[in-house]
């Protein structure tokens, strides 16, 4: 009986170890994108301490994720504190689309970010947008990771 319970414990420990390691590999594989949207920090720069400059999008989409909204609220707070600052929002697409459609998509992404900043009290007059479509990848690789990093809108100080 005692032996049995020891074995049981051992099996349990072994099982949970396996489970944890399985979890960590699964986590590693999905750490950079959630639902096709990049969630890592590799290409991210900062407008100020704790204020990321960019948000990422799913393929062909321009909707903001919860995480993107969080980033943009930080940008809005920062911009409200620095009233003289004007910004340009660059909209970008990945290389897996036609050039002309990507120009439109980049413009839509940049405006999605602009609209959100305006909702949080930043005057539209302080924000200009420009789309580069697929013309300026931040990561030049041809991989799903690179594409997810390239589907972005980036807020840049203009003055």
């Amino acid at each position: 009986m005692k032996f049995n319970s020891a074995l049981k414990n051992f099996v349990l420990v072994l099982f949970s170890t396996l489970l944890i390691s399985a979890c960590s590999t699964a986590k590693k594989a999905s750490v950079d994108t959630v639902d096709d949207v990049y969630t890592g920090t590799d290409t991210v720069e900062y407008l100020a301490n704790g204020v990321p400059d960019r948000v990422f999008f799913a393929t062909n989409k321009s909707s903001l994720t919860t995480r993107s909204r969080d980033t943009l609220r930080k940008q809005a707070t920062y911009l409200r504190k620095n009233k003289d600052l004007t910004v340009t929002i660059e909209g970008h697409a990945d290389e897996r689309g036609t050039r002309e459609y990507n120009l439109a998509l980049g413009e839509r992404r940049a405006n999605a970010a602009k609209d959100y900043l305006m909702t949080y009290g930043v005057s539209g007059k302080r924000i200009s947008v420009i789309s580069y479509g697929k013309e300026k990848p931040i990561n030049p690789a041809s991989s799903p990771l690179a594409w997810s990093q390239n589907r972005r809108s980036v807020t840049i100080k203009a003055n």
Partner: protein
């Protein structure tokens, strides 16, 4: 840029109206290209500048251009000259048909060039070797520096006589020349003859330029430029080099294209996250809104009669192709297949629309009828898009990009062409990497 309109005197010496035995069917693939012999053009001994003509081997050079043009169609098989059995001057007067048949040629091209009063006169004849008959005889007079164009015009005339279709050799391609690493590409507008000769760069590469397209007379080009970081549609006069912004839009304009009569430019205008299609009258500069939809509407292209526009919209969720009347009424979705569709371009013949299709990570260039039926995918690749039609509606030129590694290495962008039969896929050689090709109409009509 040199003047593109050149006066070409055009004499019809004689034409055989009788039906020829040779007829090349270009509606099917090139399984059995027609063996053709292109004799070097004979240089007339009475010619001015005889030595210089001989030194330049002008007669041979012209015949080489004709051969190269014919080979590129995939419909003809130009025979090697070392098998030729008759001297150019004698063959031009009257070929010994049976001798030429011996080397398996079915058609023969002969010619003569002469310079008189500083004008170059090029005369050529097309012979049907099976029927032992002259099929076509023409001559052109032009300035001597213009000899390459004469070679292309002769190619067009012969192609027309043998296939019953107008040719596409006396044409140019405008495209975007690309250099440098993938994330810092330097892009310039470039123009070259259809056979890759005579490349000229029209912009310096200081700003990003995209999607150039000719007007119907090939004098003007509309394209997109990021000059002063303001992405706008521009108009460039190739002769004078003068550039101007098209319209006075408070935001990005892109995806421009001329109307078939050249009187309008149609394009997308993006504002507040929404792209719609607008046209601008070249003369009055009046801007007209064509679509008004919260989705992205872009890549517009007129039908050759100017009555319809095909375009790309994601109003159904993902990119699909739509048609409408040119005033924006009667919008109709025409693609329903699996995958997403972009860059519709109406054929100059009016019957087909070429497009890019994306499906399961692959890119296709295809054609379909203008109501969306009869879709045929011509070529599959990792990445390719933006087809442009040859003026006779038989060939498409487009660009293809290759995959890059984790550092961006291995990336290339090249021009390719393919017949709408799906045969004869060819790399179009350019001095640099290249994208966004646009085919001119025939320079001499």
């Amino acid at each position: 840029m040199k003047k593109t309109i050149i006066a070409l005197l055009f004499f019809v010496l004689s034409t055989e109206s009788a039906f020829s035995l040779i007829k090349v069917d270009i509606t099917r693939g090139n399984l059995d290209p027609l063996p053709i012999a292109v004799s070097p053009l004979h240089i007339d001994s009475k010619s001015e500048d005889l030595k210089s003509l001989m030194d330049k081997k002008l007669g041979e050079e012209i015949s080489k251009i004709i051969e190269k043009n014919f080979k590129s169609t995939g419909l003809f098989n130009p025979l090697k000259k070392d098998a030729f059995v008759q001297k150019p001057d004698i063959a031009h007067l009257k070929p010994r048909f049976e001798d030429w048949r011996l080397i398996k040629a079915q058609a023969l091209i002969t010619g003569k060039i002469v310079v008189k009063d500083k004008k170059l006169k090029v005369e050529f004849r097309l012979w049907d070797l099976t029927a032992a008959k002259e099929m076509l005889a023409l001559s052109f007079t032009t300035t001597p520096t213009n000899w390459r164009r004469v070679a292309h015009i002769i190619s067009d005339k012969i192609y027309e006589r043998l296939t019953g279709e107008t040719g596409y050799f006396d044409t140019r391609i405008i495209y975007v020349s690309e250099k440098g690493p993938k994330n810092q590409r330097v892009k310039k507008l470039a123009i070259m003859d259809q056979d890759g000769h005579g490349t000229k760069y029209l912009t310096l590469g200081n700003e990003l330029v995209l999607t150039p397209r000719f007007n119907p007379t090939n004098q003007l080009v509309t394209y997109m430029s990021y000059f002063k970081n303001m992405p706008r549609v521009y108009l460039l006069d190739i002769e004078t080099g003068i550039q101007e912004v098209v319209g006075n839009f408070p935001g990005m304009t892109f995806a421009p294209r001329f109307s078939p009569d050249g009187k309008k430019i149609i394009m997308s205008f993006a504002k507040d996250g929404n792209s719609d299609i607008y046209s601008m009258d070249m003369e009055t500069r009046v801007v007209e809104r064509i679509t008004d939809h919260s989705a992205i509407d872009t890549s517009p292209s007129y039908s050759p009669d100017g009555k319809y526009i095909c375009f790309n919209s994601d109003r159904s969720g993902l990119q699909q192709i739509y048609t409408m009347r040119s005033d924006g009424s009667q919008v109709k979705r025409i693609t329903f297949g699996n995958g997403i569709y972009g860059t519709p371009v109406w054929s100059p013949r009016g019957d087909l629309i070429a497009f890019t299709k994306m499906r399961k990570g692959k890119f296709y260039i295809g054609v379909m009828r203008s109501d969306g039926t009869g879709e045929r995918l011509l070529t599959e690749n990792y990445y390719q898009e933006a087809p442009s039609w040859s003026p006779n509606g038989r060939v498409l030129i487009f660009y293809r990009e290759t995959k890059s590694d984790s550092k961006g290495k291995g990336f290339t962008a090249k021009l390719w062409s393919i017949d709408i039969t799906g045969y004869n896929e060819r790399l179009v050689k350019t001095e640099t990497d290249a994208s966004d090709p646009s085919w001119s109409s025939l320079l001499s009509k």
